[in-house]
């Protein structure tokens, strides 16, 4: 009896210790970057151009991260959500469903560097586009689409069968039912899925090395709205180093003097963005949930 109780106490203590340790590691990581960044950080860092010889800034790469995010989402969201609708509403169990599901699982386990190689061969070399934001976004789509499709499917599946039956019983067609009865209820879940997928775009680097390019053009002219002009910051046909790639690049190609400071500050900005994204998505998901259920 005493031994059993001692084991229980010990195990509880160990589990607490593990939890505290892991959380402390996380806190330490964040604190490290914040503390390391404070002496050199200024708001100008967020907007200035990168430089090989001085501290510079991350303006263009920050813009590129946001731009790539939007572009990837523009490509991924319609396909992912529509595919999710198919899987949840139309697909029965069968070979096709099985094939789609297997494809999902396979792609989500393929190393991102391999997806990057694929993107390089297809979207960079074969198309002749060179390194472009579009090539990067298409590559990111390849491995974000299955995830989003899965998450939307799950969100749609959680809508109770009663909702569908009620709508169908009123004489609505299947599509009307999906459109007006199912989707509105599933929206919060779908949005959470979109946000989760989007978060990965911020962090991905390996798949973008060989697709969106490593250079950081400066002097963005935001009044240039010509989407085909590689000089325009709005154009998908241009190099687009994202913040994650930039951190890797500044370690490998930075000239030395400020590599540390730049990488630390960039990491901090990246972590803060991810944090904000997380909090934002929780808030958005909650707000949507209230909005939908309040209707």
């Amino acid at each position: 009896m005493r031994r059993v109780l001692a084991a229980d106490r010990l195990a509880t203590a160990v589990l607490w210790a593990v939890a505290v340790f892991v959380i402390l590691v996380l806190v330490a990581i964040i604190a490290y970057f914040v503390i390391e960044s404070i002496p050199t950080f200024s708001l100008a860092f967020l907007f200035a151009d990168p430089s090989l010889t001085e501290i510079g800034g991350i303006g263009p790469v920050l813009w590129n991260s946001v731009y790539m995010l939007v572009l990837t989402m523009l490509l991924t969201v319609p396909l992912g959500v529509l595919g999710g609708i198919y899987m949840a509403e139309y697909a029965g169990e069968g070979r096709l469903t099985n094939a789609i599901r297997f494809s999902q699982e396979l792609i989500s386990s393929v190393p991102s560097i391999v997806v990057g190689l694929f993107g390089f061969a297809l979207f960079v070399a074969a198309t002749g586009w060179g390194f472009t934001a579009l090539g990067g976004a298409l590559t990111l789509m390849v491995f974000n689409l299955p995830l989003l499709l899965r998450l939307s499917e799950q969100a749609i599946r959680t809508v109770p069968a009663d909702e569908r039956a009620a709508s169908l019983a009123l004489g609505a067609t299947k599509w009307q039912t999906i459109r007006h009865a199912v989707l509105p209820v599933a929206i919060p879940g779908v949005v959470t899925g979109i946000v989760l997928t989007a978060g990965r775009v911020f962090g991905e680097a390996a798949a973008l090395l060989f697709t969106a390019g490593l250079s950081t053009p400066t002097r963005y002219d935001f009044s240039n709205l010509n989407l085909l002009d590689p000089q325009s910051p709005w154009s998908p046909f241009r190099n687009a180093t994202t913040l994650s790639v930039f951190i890797w690049k500044s370690n490998s190609e930075g000239l030395g003097n400020y590599v540390h400071e730049v990488a630390n500050m960039s990491s901090m900005v990246l972590i803060v963005m991810v944090l904000a994204f997380n909090l934002g998505s929780r808030w958005l998901g909650g707000a949507l949930q209230r909005h939908v259920s309040g209707l």
């Binding site: 090989l52 010889t53 061969a121 960079v124 070399a125 074969a126 198309t127 002749g128 586009w129 060179g130 390194f131 390019g213 490593l214 250079s215 053009p217 400066t218 002097r219 002219d221 009044s223 240039n224 709205l225 010509n226 085909l228 002009d229 590689p230 000089q231 325009s232 046909f237 241009r238 190099n239 690049k249 500044s250 370690n251 490998s252 190609e253 930075g254 000239l255 030395g256 003097n257 590599v259």
Partner: protein, 318 residues
Amino acid sequence: MITTSAKRIGALAIAATVLVAACGGSSSSPAAAATSAASAAAAAANGAAASGVAGPAACVDGSITTSGSTALQPLIDAAGKAYTAACPKSTISVQGGGSGTGLTQVLQGAVQIGDSDVTAESKLQASDASQLVDHVVTKQGWVVVANTGVTGVTSLTSQQLQDMWACPSGQSAPKITNWKDVGGPDLPIVLILRPASSGTRATFKQVVLNGQTECSGQALTEDSNGAVTTAVSQTPGSISVIGFAYYQANKDKVAAISLDGVAGSVANMASGTYKLAAQGHMYTKGQPTGLTKSFLDYLMSDPIQKTLIPSLFYAPIQ
């Protein structure tokens, strides 16, 4: 092979590139032009202040990308900045990636200029290399650097370096594995190599090692000049090779070692007495035109050769 795949879809690809390039090159909506003009003066002043280098004699609009050698990158990057500062309607993207990247990509048409530390012939098949046109724009050098903890060793001979680097046939370790054998402290030597595909490593192997194979088994391999610099500065007993510019930017973090009694300096390289040097190549696929030609010409002009190149620790081409 990338090249075969590229050829197959060649026609399509070229069509696409031409379309994009055409749209890109000729695009100057009135609004954009006005804004660009307005910001031109400021940008030019900015650029000039940053580099202290005069721009090109004549501007050509457009957008090009160069990629390749990280050793050449600081030079091309600075030249590109100076060019676009003076010519606000042109964009020059400068990427690293390594010499092989530059050569492969210029061959594929992914970039307009491929920068390389080595000749195309040494990297590509003859049929591919013959499609490329070589533009030698500078001479660059590398310094053997050691961790600052390695005291008392300021110069090494080629023979010593060979004994530290190369594997005698049938051996898994080099002849010299401790600094004390070359007059330094009692500290194991840690070799830090670049990837076997890198131009820096190829040049060092050819010039210093006489083509002998490196003992890669126990060595660290780091990706690029920057990563090597970080690793050498951190790792006691380490030795590696980095470009002049990277050394100059990190003088206080790593210790330079003279080669055969000759210090790695621009003057020694220019005079030909420092042998760990090579020409910096910029390759185009076929003869250059438009902005590409203008940029290459600019690189050969006085502001670059006489001002920028020495300031970044390269040597001019006479």
